[in-house]
Subunit: 408 residues, 2 copies
């Protein structure tokens, strides 16, 4: 696995101060699953009555832990719950042994915390095709249990890293009827897929009170506007997992409450952007806006075609305002477009319109704009009223270096 010495140039200055969430405690340990000299396992314990919602990879070759989570996520329960995550081994493409290894971990956590096994959610991230050394994880459960604390969330963010160049966290506190409601989340991911099948993992916690089914609806809806709108390399992990737990300790019911949904949206978008900012080799953070589409599907198809085009992404890396490649990406996407109605902007600079370069456009203005490290590409299709926004990064020599390295 490539050793990452540097921190992404697009990283935030520091890990944020996150609010403590009542009803959740965290612990981390050095289990030595693959890495040595660092924490590589995290445990979160959720108080009885917590609602848990989740969204998972659609990969047809998804991992044992994802399949196990999916089987459990729609159960209603008043019991306590737990989340256990290891870095270094993805337990993916490991046959029947993989499911047995996952059960070894989840059943040991359940016994240790005295909760039902079906309330223990697990994730594994790292190399694939190698047996998960589950006994290394279960050997640490006593140590993990004894160190559970509400203030350990930043350590948890550190423990789930694989090739991430920085730990990712985001939080919000809002007042509802004078009572504080807190949300805090952590994520890992540096590429939709990092070397050796690493993964995007996201865990968000709130002390809001809400039924499980309502929480799931909110999470699924917001996921389509956040994590489903980012792409680093168009590849999809076998292990992507997003879990949201609501403990209810704030005693504030947030069902159908837009202010809460907006705050959750902000946390999810912040974490999604941090994953892009840690994209392998990334030097530019890029927002792609498509407007004027006949349908939302068309708008998203065009936006993703631009965001995933190797030629657009290498031009961004080269700080080249190569609008011709944007035209190409729109043309190839398969969604409706009329060449002679397109308007293309880099930032606020109108580059092309009416099927040709804008008469007011000056190449020097585009080239100067491209030197920024946060960029936007906007395309108006001129056909309808639907829109989409997605986020991506550039494609650089750094991506090749990280991913062409031999694994061992």
């Amino acid at each position: 696995m490539a050793t990452i010495e540097h921190v992404s140039p697009l990283a935030p200055n520091a890990f944020p101060d996150l609010p403590e969430i009542g009803g959740v405690t965290f612990a981390t340990a050095e289990a030595g699953v693959k890495y040595s000299g660092r924490k590589d396992v995290m445990l979160a314990q959720l108080a009885p009555g917590s609602a848990v919602a989740g969204v998972f990879t659609k990969s047809a070759t998804r991992s044992a832990a994802v399949l196990d989570c999916q089987a459990k996520i729609n159960l209603d329960s008043d019991q306590g719950a737990a989340i256990i995550v290891n870095a270094g081994n993805a337990n993916a493409f490991t046959g029947k042994n993989g499911a047995e290894a996952t059960f070894s971990v989840t059943s040991a956590v359940a016994a240790s915390l005295e909760i039902p096994e079906e309330r223990v959610f697990s994730s594994s991230t790292g190399v694939i095709g190698e047996p998960l050394p589950h006994e290394k994880i279960t050997a640490k459960l006593a140590e993990l249990k004894s160190s559970l604390s509400g203030s350990n969330l930043s350590n948890a963010a550190e423990a789930i890293r694989t090739t991430d160049t920085f730990a990712k966290g985001s939080g919000r506190t809002l007042l509802i009827g004078g009572k504080p409601v807190n949300i805090a989340g952590i994520a890992k991911g540096s590429g939709m897929i990092a070397p050796d099948m690493a993964t995007m993992l996201v865990y968000i916690f709130t002390d809001a009170s809400i039924e499980r089914a309502e929480l799931q609806n909110m999470l699924s809806d917001l996921n389509t506007q956040t994590f489903n709108c980012i792409t680093v390399d168009s590849d999809t992990s076998t292990s992507d997992t997003l879990l949201l737990a609501a403990t209810g300790t704030s005693e504030v019911d947030v069902t159908h409450l837009e202010a809460f949904k907006d705050a959750l949206h902000a946390v999810m978008l912040d974490l999604a952007h941090q994953v892009v900012r840690d994209g392998e080799g990334a030097t530019k953070f890029v927002e792609v806006n498509v407007t004027g589409a006949l349908s939302m599907t068309d708008a998203r198809t065009h936006a993703m075609a631009i965001a995933n085009s190797p030629l657009v992404k290498t031009a961004l890396a080269g700080e080249d305002p190569n609008w011709g490649r944007v035209v190409m990406a729109i043309g190839k996407s398969g969604a409706a477009a009329d060449r002679d109605k397109l308007a293309i902007r880099f930032g606020d600079i109108l580059v092309a319109e009416d099927g040709w370069v804008s008469p007011d456009y000056r190449e020097q203005a585009g080239a100067t704009y491209m030197k920024q490290d946060s960029l936007s590409i906007s395309v108006d299709l001129g056909l309808g009223g639907e829109t989409a926004t997605v986020w991506t990064c550039d494609l650089t020599h750094g991506y090749i270096t990280i991913n062409a390295d031999y694994r061992s």
Copy 2:
């Protein structure tokens, strides 16, 4: 535009000896459309009675020349015909001016050769968004006309290059009822898209006799097995053009003749492979085979997901037998797959089966195999009887260097 000093390590040793095709003559000239000191325009004249068939890019932002060819390709005619091609300017995304520039060229060729304008097919390849200096091309028509010769096909292959590192040609001669029938073709392309919207252009000529509609059916069918099965970077040009002309001078009718279709298939596949071998930055030529699919569409979807995955392609560049990324690509493709029924081979080496790494697989065997410059990845899905084969190259620092260079 990046200057390519080297020749692809995957290039053939030499341009092949191609048979002369009765009824076709070629000429090239230095028009100075963009390049200086090299031939950049080629003209082919076709004898009266020639049938012309074509296949074009499906891009919604296709170029003026492509739109013009598409309007002409289904016309039956006994008149002579011509093909005129320039390198250096794609005349794409140039608004109404673009269509006028194309007409300036095609009508001047028609007048010069005394044929109808609707029998003149044109292609332009190079930078987009800049007006085509059509007067530089038409100024050379007298010179081109005076130098038309049946032996100029290799010069034509040279003249249509943009970022290609070698000229591409292929030919076959077969005997039908004791009479020789000849096929010769040339191609340009180094990436489905090269820098600045360069393009895949292919021109194939035969002295066989066949009706236009039959020729079109044969071309469209073979295209799905050849040029539609190659990918360098998943991007699609605005200008891709494949033209096939049959002059009939051999006086051999090849309608429904499998031997002729097989020979044409061989020429098209050879040219398609040469385009991949000149893929930008390519160091590995890779065949991807998918078997055992429920449908041909599923087989092709999986094969293209593997061939286009940046993580698979960077692993190939790193000579890393990273079968986990093949599993990932199958999982994300969206087509039917069962993780526990997959069998994956690198060359003849069985790597994974039954949802896990094969017990007989040794990493060293995979690593040794990956050092070859021609590789195959085979996946059996174990679900049905349908298959697909596609060809691609690896993703290297060379691709980034070529495409992240500033255009000017």
